[in-house]
Symmetry: C2
Subunit: 274 residues, 2 copies
């Protein structure tokens, strides 16, 4: 048995067939959802992205059924605060890479504790390194699919407490994102900027939420290149589990936690505690 609750296709089950294409080819996608008081946070964003990704990969998923299952799963396992992982694979079948005839996608739900850290980078700021791993241009950019070896190897570039996150560049040397987070900067002119993810990276739901929040508040959000030198006024990272981490150290540079970062961080925190 698994040490944490797992359901496969609606029933408690911690194993899946070796024939699953998620294993064979990373043929699937996932969402990592923060659960607060038993309820998924940023839920609309997660389910929208999940459906969009399924559509783009040609994986059929019954979203109504999935959401009913998620509710039942959280209820059944008396989820309070934690992390829900939803994986959708194309299931078993097809012939080699060819997925033809592979019509029963597999739904995998698991519930995990929130990451515990002795020092909360959301409060005290994150110390960040530049990873050697480069992200190549991908026709699958933006999707949170199961092909995540680049992130695994980038995250292997450091151990211990010296760094909270690593940043990744594309092959042109521009910053794309963190290993598990998206990047925002505030320029010296006060503009909020996040890298374009049309060709690289994962378009995180917390990034979407922040872009919408900022636009609602009348702030311009620019989607454009961010050179790795980071000559900017504020830097922060975000993801849907940790919220916003202000960056205070990066490759010899240091920042105070800036006012716009604080405003956005607290807005995401409110969303988590709503």
């Amino acid at each position: 048995m698994s040490e944490y609750p797992v359901w496969v296709n609606g029933v408690p089950e911690s194993f899946l067939p070796v024939s699953d294409r998620g294993l064979a080819y990373g043929d699937g996608l996932f969402e990592t959802v923060r659960v607060a008081g038993g309820k998924p946070t940023l839920a609309d964003y997660h389910w929208r992205r999940l459906q969009r990704s399924c559509h783009q990969l040609g994986i059929a998923v019954d979203i109504e059924r999935l959401l009913e299952e998620v509710d039942a799963f959280l209820l059944d396992n008396r989820a309070g605060d934690g992390v829900l992982k939803v994986m959708i694979t194309r299931g078993s079948g097809g012939r080699g890479y060819n997925p033809e005839g592979c019509l029963s996608s597999r739904r995998i739900l698991s519930l995990h504790p929130l990451p515990s850290r002795s020092r909360d980078p959301g409060v005290h700021g994150a110390r960040v390194k530049l990873c050697q791993m480069r992200l190549g241009r991908s026709a699958l950019a933006g999707l949170k699919h199961l092909n995540r070896l680049e992130q695994v190897l980038a995250r292997s570039e450091w151990q211990g407490d010296a760094y909270d996150e690593g940043l990744l560049c594309d092959f042109a040397g521009n910053l794309v994102e963190g290993t598990m987070s998206n990047l925002f900067v505030v320029t010296h002119e006060g503009a909020l900027v996040t890298p374009d993810l049309s060709f690289h990276g994962v378009a995180g739901v917390c990034r979407d939420f922040i872009m919408e929040f900022a636009r609602h508040r009348g702030m311009a959000v620019k989607v454009q290149s961010v050179p790795r030198g980071l000559d900017v006024a504020e830097v922060f990272l975000c993801n849907s589990v940790n919220g916003v981490w202000p960056v205070i150290e990066y490759e010899g540079r240091e920042w105070e936690i800036g006012p716009l970062t604080v405003q956005i961080r607290d807005c995401v925190l409110e969303e988590f505690n709503a």
Copy 2:
């Protein structure tokens, strides 16, 4: 139960834990080995690449033990002619992308029938299309890792019998490989050329075998760009299960099956029947 024999870590078992990182992140690699008369073919090439890939991904594997297991697996299942798939995943554990502490890789062996085709492209020639999917530059180029969504989507671009394989370009528009095969061409000057896989694609073991064979015969093999127009004298595809497929049709162009292609095809066939 699975419809074909599967062993996980040396015992008959067709399921594996949902926590396996091969599923979560494609954190592993595989080899697809043609089995003839119960024995793996191109075995040295496969095991060399497997060890190289494990090393590059930082996955520990006991190769002696794996090879003993492969022998026992093939014997136990009275393998005659077929396809052995060997998957090595990083196993379960780590924390998110971070694989630290994840020390027990998982060995998964499965045995499948040889692909059956009403018409053998090795004999009659392969009809090939150009796929829309582009292969991005990857820090993991060359490895046969488990992140294979690009191949799955490329292979989804056609169904039915009109094509035997699809070719993929990089974003610069040069040919890299097929969805499940490597590419060779013979130029009008008689040079054997295969695309450079330093930045894209999978370096197949049959490609390695052919390059060594050609060099032993005193032929020059050039590793260089192959423009997608394919203005060349001969074209063939290779992989370790199907051997060599002479290309006879591609995007409005046609070729006879050429003499060098035949020579190389028959040499690979001999290796399969050795």
